[in-house]
Structures are given as structure tokens and as C-alpha cells.
Amino acid sequence: MRQDLAIIADWVRPGSRVLDLACGDGELMHHLQQHKQVTGYGLEIDADKITDCIRRGVDVIEQDLNRGLGNFADNSYDTVIMTQALQVLRRQDLALDEMLRVGQEAIVTFPNFAHWRCRFYLTFKGRLPVSKTLPYQWYDTPNIHLITFKDFEVLLREKGLKVLDRAVGDLAYEGHWKARVWPNLFGEVAIYRIGR
């Protein structure tokens, strides 16, 4: 079990209704079903990952998140989750609105573009950072909107949304003291639990 998924599982109430956006091969939903008795669906567009979900018994719906969640009613889920997919969407602000329209709470994870290694890369190499969390070249990256923790929190503030929980860490999600003191500089990845 990936560490980020373990943290998320901790934040999800047992027996709750969950929608997992860009659920991948269904690892998180499967874990939540097994250990938290949640119900709900994963949404995914990748053909092979959809098959993986079906194989492991995760209910998955083929749906492009860029077209919104219009087919899901207001307040119909306790928690709407999106791991490592926020940065590939066209309009993240609208995606957040949608997540918190459909869910009471949202949980999102994304890589921090203001991590010191990224800053170092750009400052001294003069090139867009390529790293473990952001392994793509500028021309082939699916990450069309890169995010820093600070940018994200500014957006939440502007929207009047509340940060209910935040975990910042390195790739293994081990929170170092530096990441606690200067998260935007030393945190590589973050998980936010957000409420209205």
C-alpha cells in the first residue's frame, strides 16, 4: 500500500460514500472497500486501468473528468477523492467546485512545483524541472497545470474553502521537520482534505 493511500484511508470515515476521481487501477478504492467498508465508484478513462478495477471488484465508470461531474447529484457523496490527477485537468478551479458540490469533503493530492529541487533545476539549469514526481519533458507532460502548495492554498482561500487536514512529505510521504516548517520549499507531495 502506497503511503499516500494509507494517509487518505485514515481520513475516510468507515462506511462512507466515496467517489474516487481518476481512480487508476482501483488500488485505493479496493483498500477502502476492504478496510473501511466504503461504497461508491471509481472514475477513470484509461482502458487497461478500467479492466484492472473490474478485475479486482472495484466498481468503475468510464468518464472524462474534464467534462465535469454533471451526472452526479449535489451532496451525493461523503468524500470525493482525486490523487495525482489535479495537475492534468484543464480547469482545476472548476474541478474543485465540482468535487465539493458532489461531496461533503474533498481529498486531493498533487506534486509541489515549488519544491527546492524544482527551484534549483529552473534557477541553475534554466530548464523546466524533470524529477521523480514530475518525470516528463515540457513537450510531452500530461501535467498541464503545475501547482505549488502556496498557489493551491491561495485558491482555496479565494474560494472560501477550508483545509481540514494536510499532510506534506517527500515521495514516501515521510514528513521531515523541514517539510513541516517550510512545506512549500521542502515538501514534494501533499495531501489536502478540504471542506466547504
Binding site: R17, Y41, A47, I50, C53, I54, D59
Partner: protein
Amino acid sequence: MTAAAGDVFPPTDSVGLVQPQTFTFDQPLPLASGNRLENWQLMVETYGELNADASNAVLICHALSGNHHAAGYHDPEDRKPGWWDSYIGPGKPIDTRHFFVVALNNLGGCHGSTGPSSINPATGQPYGPDFPVMTVEDWVDSQALLADRLGIQQWAAVVGGSLGGMQVLEWSLRHPQRLRHAVVIASTPRLSAQNIAFNEVARQAIMSDPDFREGRYQQAGVIPRHGLGLARMIGHITYLSEHSMGEKFGRDLRSDKLNYGFDVEFQVESYLRYQGETFSESFDANTYLLMTKALDYFDPAARYGGDLPRAVSEAQCSFLVVSFTTDWRFSPRRSEELVNALTAARKRVSYARIKSPHGHDAFLIPDQRYEAVFTAYMQRVAAESHAEGAVS
């Protein structure tokens, strides 16, 4: 796949030679129309073995022109296997090493089950137009009685494409305790006005054929060949996509020049005429009328004022819904209507929209991703039915 000379027969992934069986029922079947069938029979094929606790049974529901011959061969000389042979057999998505598969010809059909061409015991003559109009609900009820006869209390899965998918959906609502999984492929929770319009043109084509004789063509020793062929041509256009027709025929001509006349000139015309002609030799016109009516009438949401989520709230089973991108007869949107109703009603459902160039017919045609999704789901069904077997 054909059993061509020289190949090993039967192919290793085939259920092989199969023999249809007739099941006769004496208990009257009340119908949605208010009529009832007193004595009736179903033509049935089964593949695989029913396990000791009857937990591995899968029902196959057929579409408009389908029948009980879903897989395998009746004769080593058969040119083609059953209509869904690509998906039923050892190692195929509906794996006959795990499942006991039941396929039948629906009532009102023309392949051995009681239908318009059967003899009406009241008159000693073929029913013809007097055969009652059947609905999807009626079919499901008759299938439930067949399940009783076979000793199947609960299906591991009920599976079907197109009109077959409608029967699957109806099963989940009408007999919610009697199935664990519903696989609804290239289907819709109700026809659109456009769908009904195409059906009406097909019916008019049949009924306006002078040989139709108000449906009593059998007694007159004729068949409304022309009308039935025309109905099939219209239907066939809606089964293919613009793209697949373009790929297959383009604007190809049968000869190398235009004739400036109204005979067959383009390849697509020739193909459609051939489809119409062969169909009119093997299918019954009254059955075709009846099947299109069953399609038109199906609308489970109508019982709940058009509220599909409320209608599907009756269901207890898990669903797999599959659509195909170029299907314009029952487009992905129609499947998504059903999926949205199921998620709103908090039912277990998975949905895949398969990219295919083949239009509505895609549900019958081999396709890698479709097979992968279908196989993954059916393996889940099989794993559960084995677990069921273990507890009892």
C-alpha cells in the same frame, strides 16, 4: 470462425456440437397485453455443466433476430457457429469451463419456440397475426419459468446485448432476488422517437407487401419476402456505422461504369439486397413485427412516471454496462442514462465505453478491449459463484 474443411473440428475454443432441446409448459403464462398463453414451448440450448448447488448458471438473452443457437455447431458442415460464439466457449468471456450457459429462443420467435408460425390449438391453424404481442416483461417471466424447470433459483448472471440487454435490465427489476449480476451491452432503458420511427418504417414495409395478407400468409402458402427484406435492409443500416459502411463499400460500383438506371449499381446496394433476401428466407414476418413492438414498448421508468433511478431502485444485483462509440442505434448516451440512474440509486455498476468502428453490431464482433472487460467481469462472477458453492 467457420468450420472449414481441413481445420480441426470442433475448434478448441468452441463448445463443439450442440443440440437444442424443447421444453414444454402447461402452466398458463399471463401476458402484459392481458392475453395468456395456455400451452407453450421454448427451444433451448445449454453449454457447460450446472454445478451441484446450481450457482454457476448464466442466462443469455437474444436480440431482435437472434435465437437459442448462441454458440457451437449443429453439424460439422455448418458454415457458421452460433450467433455469440466469439463470446461463449472454453476460455472465452462467458467461459463454459466455469459456467452453465442457457440460451433460448424467446416466445413469439420463429426458431422453435411458440410463436406466430406455431399452430394455434384453438383453431388448428397457424396463429399468424392472432399470436399475442409479447413484451420484454413477458419474456422475462417465461425465462423465469424455464429457470424453475432447470432447477436454477438464482442466475450467477443474466447477459444480453441490444434487445437482450433490455431483458437483462427487466430481470433485475422484476425478479431482483433471482440474479447476482446483470450484463447490459449496447442497450438502452427505452427507445427514442427515432428508434421507434425506424421500427415503424420496417413494419410498414412488411404490412404493405401484398403477400402479407393481413398476416395470414402462411395459410395462403406465400411469404411477404419483399417487405421483410426491406425491413431487414432498414434495420441493417442502423446496425452499422457510417464509418464501417464507408470502409466496407465506399462508393464502389459493381461494374466499372454508371448505368444511369435504378438497378443495383453500388456495392452497398447489392450488399443490402443480399442481406434482405437471405433474411426473408429464414425469418418470419409476424415475428419481426412482434419483436419490434416489444422494443417499442419497453420502458421500465414509465411505471414510475419516467423516473429511471426510482425504477432501478428495485434491483439487487451488480451491473456491468457496455456501450460502443460508433453505435448510433443505442448510442453510449443511452447506456450512460442507465448508468447514471444506477449510480443515483446507489447500485453496484461498472461501465465501459468501447472504442469500435462497427456501430451497433460491435457487440457481436471480436474486439480486444471488449473481450478484456467482459472477461474480467465474468471472472469476478465465476469467483463469486465458486465461493457460493463452497459455503453451501
